[in-house]
Amino acid sequence: MKEKVVRIALIGNPNTGKTSLFNHLTGLNQKVGNFPGVTVDKVVGKCKLTKDTFAEIIDLPGTYSLYPKSLDEQVVFQSLSNPSSEDFPDLVILVLETVNLKRGLFLLTQVSDLGMPVVAVLNEMPVLQGHDIPEVDSELLATEMGVPVYRINARTGKGIPALKEGLLSKPHPNKVIFGRPKILESIIPAIRIRFRLDNDFLAVQYIHQFEHLPFLSNEDKQLIRTLIKQHGLDLDEIKALETLHRYEVINERIGSFISDPPHKENTLTDKIDSIITHKVWGYLIFLLVLFITFQAIFSLASYPMDLIDQGMSHAIGWIKSWMPPGPFTNLVTEGLIAGIGGVVMFIPQIALLFMFVSLLEESGYMARVMFIMDAVMRKVGLNGRSVVPLMSGVACAVPAIMSARTIDNWLDRAITIFVTPLMSCSARIPVYAILIALVVPSTSVLGLFNLQGVVLMGLYLLGFLAAVASAWVLSKILKQKGKSVFVMELPDYRVPRWQNVGISIVEKVKTFVFEAGKIIVAISIVLWFLASYGPGEHMEKASSYVAALPEMQGASEEELGKAINAYQLEHSYAGTFGKFIEPAIAPLGFDWKIGVALITSFAAREVFVGTMGTIYSIGADDENTQSLKERMQAEINPETGESRYTVAVAFSLMVFYAFALQCMSTVAVVYREMKSWVWPIAQVVYMSSLAYLSSLLVYQLFK
């Protein structure tokens, strides 16, 4: 694998086994990146062809046509349109499957008319039962369509060696199918000369898609706009006519030897659907699936999480034991390693969530969830496709917001993105966990459920209801632009392919660790600095000042050390900020120490527990949750003389964390996705006000 001989783009309809083929060709040699200008994930892999050569393969989003209906589909034409881009392929592999062959051939003719060398791959689809798969004569198909056709099975890998060999040979010249529609004849030459295009259909694509082509200047766009206006072109109709014409040609060429598959009644898919999309059973099954998913995420993930926690504290202890004591060691252990620990800690939950999401997608169940949820979601101004972002939001809002790109309606997508951070993400779990442990007894309810578990579930429900209610209000305020389209395929059920599930988990975890992880580690270092240094000379003089206090006379060295640490924290930058905001948060039941945690949490809420640990124990020997909980329990409110963390305070704090947008990564990803600061700013203002007012209400009612 030394020399790259060819760059290949993988294109095909959704549900054709394109990703399976990609995984077969590249294995774990994959890298996720971004397409320039858009945030659609670009998955690139290396495929070994011979001992010394490899092909670079780009997996493009599944699409039915070069004319995009959603943001991720835009990428397909964009990457085929710009020869000067580093992603421009030498060759396209077009994945076809036998049941919907004509639909795939339609896309093939579009790609081929761009002058792009195409190799077609006919994938044998794993269908559970019920379809008579039409026999396709692949040699005849190759002759008629003018492209080489390779028969493969993307599950078993059958036929892939022959395909790899074929990739090394010289591509054929293409037969033009629909290069120059008559109605555009008058303006194609002008476009071709202006942009130096050597192909008619490429000029046609410029006419239809110039608004989405990032490499065109505003002048260029204005030029095309004027041409379209001058000639009075109805672009929608031209595209519809092109589609009809292409299907006609396909029927002429292959109609004699390929017939449409007859539809069989009462297939296994139909039988499963009659239960899964049933009025009652459908929703019950969906609830059960959610329940099992969350149970698994909480119960199974806790074992590796405990191990990681212990591993990290061992690592910190070990490093402290051999590095010389001093600010640098503290920076490494309390800043850097603690931060890395905070990232690694979430890996088990993210891996488990994406295992379930990927299993549901692979099996064909996810499409049914959208099907049965569309009517419900539409009532609150969302869309059946909003279910996936909302569900994924329970793990982490960042990938969830990115997954909203499949929603083709702009407003539905904007509202989904706006409310997704209200879903309780996994970063809130540690906050909820310690506060619940603090004030909710672990008794059983109805002999079945643990009360702590019930409260936790209540917090999730609270987030979900807030998301739904906010969506409803927003959809009433903002008027719907354009029609929302919900046409989608319900694929046949099939057994998930474990390799695809595994690769999906690895990719998602990698993205989290390297994207969100960077920010979390950086923040934890900043935090360490804010908590370790302060204005004036309080920090340096802390030990002499505390030692001189009358109540510290005769105190042990350990007590003295703790008192010094507490004094330093109070006078650090973090403590100063906390005191500054105390008057504003006192009505919510919070003191300056909680204020410090709130401020630091505005960057990322998972730092709450770490900050609490720092506040109550800088310098203490062990920082595990148990002892932090005890320390928090022992905290006295000087005004009442009772415990600081009463039920009212703890619930007020939990509600605050449920609603506040305390996550820089989310703000950043919303900005990237919406390409405007209006949305993330509105989101921060809205969620902060909601959090403040709800906390105020909770504290004033329960205190």
Binding site: F106, L244, T277, F371, D374, A375, K483, F486, M488, L490
Partner: protein, 75 residues
């Protein structure tokens, strides 16, 4: 002139043949997915609350909202 019959008017199990579309803009996606004039379409099922619906066309099942089905004219 009475409104032409559309896919949205089909009862479950009923079939028809696509004759055309009422809305060019919305028809593009349907055309690209293989809902072509002349092809046979069958109402397969409805989601709970009657919307969206699923239809059989060619070898596959498509789901769409009733509003979208109502632009597909059948004969």
């Amino acid at each position: 002139m009475p409104d032409p019959k559309t896919v949205a008017d089909l009862k479950i199990g009923e079939a028809g043949e696509i004759a055309g579309f009422k809305d060019t803009k919305l028809s593009l996606k349907l055309l690209e997915m293989g809902c072509l004039p002349g092809s046979k379409v069958k109402m397969n099922s409805e989601a709970p609350f009657g919307d969206p619906i699923s239809i059989c066309i060619g070898g596959s099942h498509l789901s769409m909202r009733r509003a979208e089905a109502a632009i597909i004219i059948i004969k």
